[in-house]
Structure formats: C-alpha cells, structure tokens
C-alpha cells in the first residue's frame, strides 16, 4: 500500500510541473496564479511571432534531414552488427554517443569544425545531430532484430535473390516497425536538442533552432508565450514517443 502511494506520488512529481505549464498556457491572464478564463491568445501570439516561426522552420529542417540520414545509416548498421559475432569495442562505440555528456560532444564538434575551417550553420547542426541519432536509431532497430529469423535471408539468397532484393523484400518489411520507431525517436531527439545545436550553429540568428529560441526566451523570464510553446513541444514529443513505443512492441529499446 505504502509502495503504491509512493509510486503515485512519483507520477505526481513527474507530471505535475508539466501539466501546470499546459494549464497555464491556456490562462487568459497569462499570470501563473490568477485564472481568468480559457483562451488560445498565447498560441495566437506565438503564431504571429516571426522569430519563432523562423526557428520552428529551422528545427523542422534539422530534425527532418538528420532523421532521414541517421535512420538509414543506423538501420544498416544495426543489421550489420546483428549479423556478426558480438564485439565489445563496437558496442562501446555505439553506446558512446548516448552516454557522452552533451557539452563534451558539443565542444568536440565545435573544435573539429573550427580546425577544418568548416562553415557553421544549419548544415553543421544536421551533421552533428546525426551522430547521436545514429546510435539511438541503431539501438531501436537492433532490439527489433533480436526476434528476426536470419534463416529467411538465407532462404531468399538460396532462391537466387540478390542482396538488394533480399533487403527490400525480406529484411526491410520484417523490421519496418522498428525502423519507423527509430525515425520517430530520432526526430524527437533532434527537435528537442539544444546544447549541440547551440555550439555548432555559428553566429547570427539565421540558424537559430526552436530550443535555442526557447533558451533565450527563458533567460528573459517567464512569459505566457513560453508556456504555449512548451505545451506544443511536450505534446509533440509525447505523441511521437508513444507512437514509436507502440511500433517497437511491448519491450522496445526504450522502456
């Protein structure tokens, strides 16, 4: 009984602050404590904000492109890794982008681009986001491949199918839910990512992403527009992750 109560309180702790933001975003007065009626005016203000619209477009470009690249490379990587005998070094390399502190990866990439005199902008954010997204996409697809019957590939090859045909007609359909789950997760991670984008975006506002915009808004203080933007962010992540969760099965790679 005590345990259940504890678990219940944990959920209150985890969801209370988030739900509070969602409720406040609908408060007409915009004040955190005085409820003056339901209103979508802060969402309208958001839609009219030029800086936010530009940042949102940038974020969609970064998340979209990095998701496509990372899902493709991560899927191939997962199949390759699962087909051979396990290697501790390989597992460590694939695990590293998930555990390395963001700030370290951020300064490492910044130093790298600087040494190469590589120009910074949306393209460098995309290249950087692919790094951690490959690792996550690979992990999700690998979880799916654990239940894959490798004899099917052999059967297909014995029947004379080329490697490409086998991939398109046998392997891909079998792991497709995992691949889509990987893409949804990669998109979520990229659209939420702040520190690496912040370091690799370069100077100027042209390549500001939405989280970078949120960060500069938060530093100015609490405003009702941030609550509205926060709510949209949370709902987007929750939808994508729940969808990914469904696709990757009951025991996916991410809980």
């Amino acid at each position: 009984m005590g345990l259940r109560l504890h678990l219940g309180l944990i959920y209150v702790f985890l969801y209370g602050p988030i739900l509070l933001l969602m409720v406040l975003s609908l408060n007409e007065s915009g004040l955190p404590t005085a409820w003056s009626g339901l209103s979508f005016r802060w969402y309208e203000a958001l839609a009219e904000n030029e800086a936010i619209r530009r940042a949102a477009l940038n974020s969609l470009i970064v998340a979209g492109v990095s998701t496509v690249i990372a899902t493709a490379l991560g899927t191939l990587l997962a199949i390759g890794v699962e087909r051979r005998r396990g290697s501790a070094a390989l597992d460590a390399l694939l695990f590293a982008p998930m555990i390395i502190p963001d700030i370290v990866l951020a300064i490492a990439l910044l130093s790298f681009y600087f040494m190469l005199s590589f120009s910074l902008g949306l393209h460098s954010i995309i290249l950087s986001h692919v790094v951690f997204n490959i690792a996550f996409a690979c992990a999700v697809v690998r979880a799916r491949l654990k239940h894959f019957d490798w004899a099917m590939i052999e059967a297909s090859e014995d029947l004379g199918a080329s490697a490409l045909t086998t991939f398109v007609r046998v392997t891909l359909p079998a792991i497709l839910p995992g691949v889509i789950a990987a893409a949804l997760l990669a998109f979520t991670l990229s659209i939420d990512e702040f520190i690496i984008a912040f370091f690799t975006a370069g100077a100027g506002l042209a390549s500001t992403t939405l989280p970078m915009q949120v960060y500069s808004m938060i530093r100015f203080g609490v405003t009702p527009e941030i609550n509205a933007l926060a709510t949209l962010f949370l709902l987007t992540s929750f939808t994508l992750v729940l969808f990914a969760q469904r696709l990757s099965g009951r025991r996916g790679a991410f809980a």
């Binding site: 345990l3 504890h6 678990l7 944990i10 959920y11 702790f13 985890l14 969801y15 988030i18 509070l20 933001l21 406040l24 955190p32 404590t33 490379l73 191939l76 990587l77 390759g80 890794v81 087909r83 051979r84 390399l93 982008p97 555990i99 390395i100 502190p101 963001d102 700030i103 370290v104 990866l105 300064i107 490492a108 990439l109 130093s111 790298f112 692919v130 790094v131 490959i134 490798w150 004899a151 052999e154 991670l189 939420d192 702040f194 520190i195 370091f199 989280p211 949120v214 938060i218 530093r219 609490v222 926060a230 962010f233 949370l234 992540s237 929750f238 992750v241 009951r250 025991r251 809980a255």
Partner: protein, 286 residues
C-alpha cells in the same frame, strides 16, 4: 550461418561507422590533443605541448568547482536512488499487464524537451511563482521565499530530469530477479525485510549502479540546470567548460576539463563492470 558473409556485414556497417569515426572519434581525439596544448595569446591555440591545463584544473579555485559539482551530483544521485528504488520496486511488483504501461509513463517525460522540463521548475519556484503564491494564499508565509537560484533548486531539477532513468535501470534488474530465490528465502523462515536485504537488494545492485552512474555523470557535466535553476550562482563542471569555449576563449583548458569529465565517467563505468563481473563470478563459485 550468421557469419556467412562478414564482408557484406562490413559493407552495411561502413557508412554508419564512417560517420561515427569522422564526427565522433576524430572530434574527441582533437579535444584530447587540445588538452595538451597551450592557450594562444589572443584566445587561439599554440601548438606547444604542456601539462599546464591539467595542473590548472587542480588549482584550488577550479578544484572547489569540481568538488562542488561532485557534491551536487552526488546528492542528486542519492536522492534519485532513494525515491527511485521504491518506485521501481512497486512497478516490478505490479501485475504483468500493468508493468509496461507504468514504465512508459515513467519514461515519457524523459524523452521530452530538457529545457522545458527545467523551465517548468522556474514557473513553480520563482518569487512570484506558483509555489510561493499558493503558500501565501494559504497563509503559510507572508513574504515570498527564495526557492530558486540555490543548490536545492539545482538538485531538484537534476533529480526531476534523471529520475526516470534510475527507475528504468533498477526495474530492469528487479524484473530479471529469480523469484524462486525469494521463495527459498521465505521457506527458510526469513522475514520479508531480511529477504529484501539479503536477496533482492544485492541482486538489484547492478541496476542501482547503472542508474546511479548515469545520474551522476549527466549531473556533473550538466550545464542547463545550474544555469537556469542556479541562476549563474551555482557553477558545475559543465558551466566551466561552456565558459572556456564561449566566454573565456581558453579552449585547451576547456578541453582538459572535458577530458577529466570523461575520465571520471570511464572510471565509474569500469568500476561497475568490474563489480558486476566479480558478483557474477562469486555466484558461479557458490
């Protein structure tokens, strides 16, 4: 059969591994090298080998920041484990049908925007925030309290953000626990608390260690939480690295600090792997 065509498998892995080599391994190697070079007069890098950056990290001023981050991260880790363990235990004891749902509910916030989860605490804790106004309304206090911009707020933020992972890690080891061991313990007359202390807890330690290391490493290298909830008054290693790269322009020193961070992380992971292996060995012998 799996090893039928290792070359095909290498071909599949080539693009992904190539990407990681170019954009992960090479940049990390650059940071490693940077840590041994001198800072240039105008903020650039002089390619002269030196230990100075690491010596500077041990200077009392920086050592105190390192120590403060370790203490804050340690406190966040301890609290996350203390409240996360019973939650994981409760989920592991729930019916099979409910376990996945309860777990997804724990992990869902973890996959949402970190900045926004942290911002929610500013809304709650600031002087005109929800917590203060509510307490004034209820007559508990007359003047708003300074709940934000102190170490308590930073620890709260860290626990809030990383708790889901602790619960997941502990749950993973609890759900793998062999129930017959508990039955055996019960049959031999052990009261539940003793079964827990002598069977459940030791067997779930790998999960505790994995979750604890994760919280500790991500906390000590954190930059957003101390920045937003500590209001610049609480400095952690992450903030220090940030400053070296974006404000002070001392990249070699920032690189040395990053390497220290990675070294701490690897040391902890290594210790955990060793402990798990030893525990596994003992069980086999017994």
């Amino acid at each position: 059969m799996r090893l039928k065509s290792p070359s095909a498998s290498s071909l599949l892995m080539a693009p992904g591994l190539g990407w990681l080599a170019l954009f992960l391994v090479v940049p990390c190697a650059i940071v490693f090298l940077l840590a041994f070079f001198q800072r240039g007069i105008y903020g650039g890098v002089d390619y002269v080998l030196t230990w100075e950056n690491f010596a500077r990290a041990l200077d009392p001023l920086y050592l105190s920041i390192l120590w403060q981050s370790a203490v804050l991260a340690g406190e966040a880790t301890a609290i996350a484990l203390l409240i996360g363990y019973p939650a994981a235990y409760a989920i592991a004891r729930a019916s099979q049908r409910w376990q996945p749902v309860l777990l997804v509910l724990v992990m869902l916030p973890f996959w949402s925007n970190y900045l926004i989860r942290t911002y929610a605490w500013i809304v709650l804790l600031n002087r005109k925030g929800v917590a203060n106004e509510a307490m004034i309304d209820w007559g508990l206090i007359t003047e708003p309290l300074s709940l934000l911009y102190n170490s308590g707020a930073v620890i709260t933020g860290l626990v809030y953000n990383y708790l889901p992972f602790v619960i997941l890690a502990v749950y993973a080891s609890l759900s793998r626990l062999d129930r017959s061991l508990l039955e055996a313990s019960e049959d031999l007359g052990a009261p539940p608390w003793r079964s827990f202390l002598r069977v459940t807890l030791p067997l779930s330690l790998p999960g505790v260690a994995a979750g604890g290391i994760f919280v500790f490493v991500l906390s000590i290298g954190n930059f957003i939480t101390p920045d937003l909830l500590g209001g610049g008054r609480i400095q952690m290693v992450g903030n220090l690295i940030y400053d070296q790269f974006l404000t002070a322009r001392d990249w070699p020193f920032g690189a040395a600090l990053s390497m220290l961070l990675i070294a701490i992380m690897l040391l902890l992971l290594f210790a955990q792997a060793l402990a798990v292996r030893r525990a596994g060995g003992e069980r086999k012998e017994a």
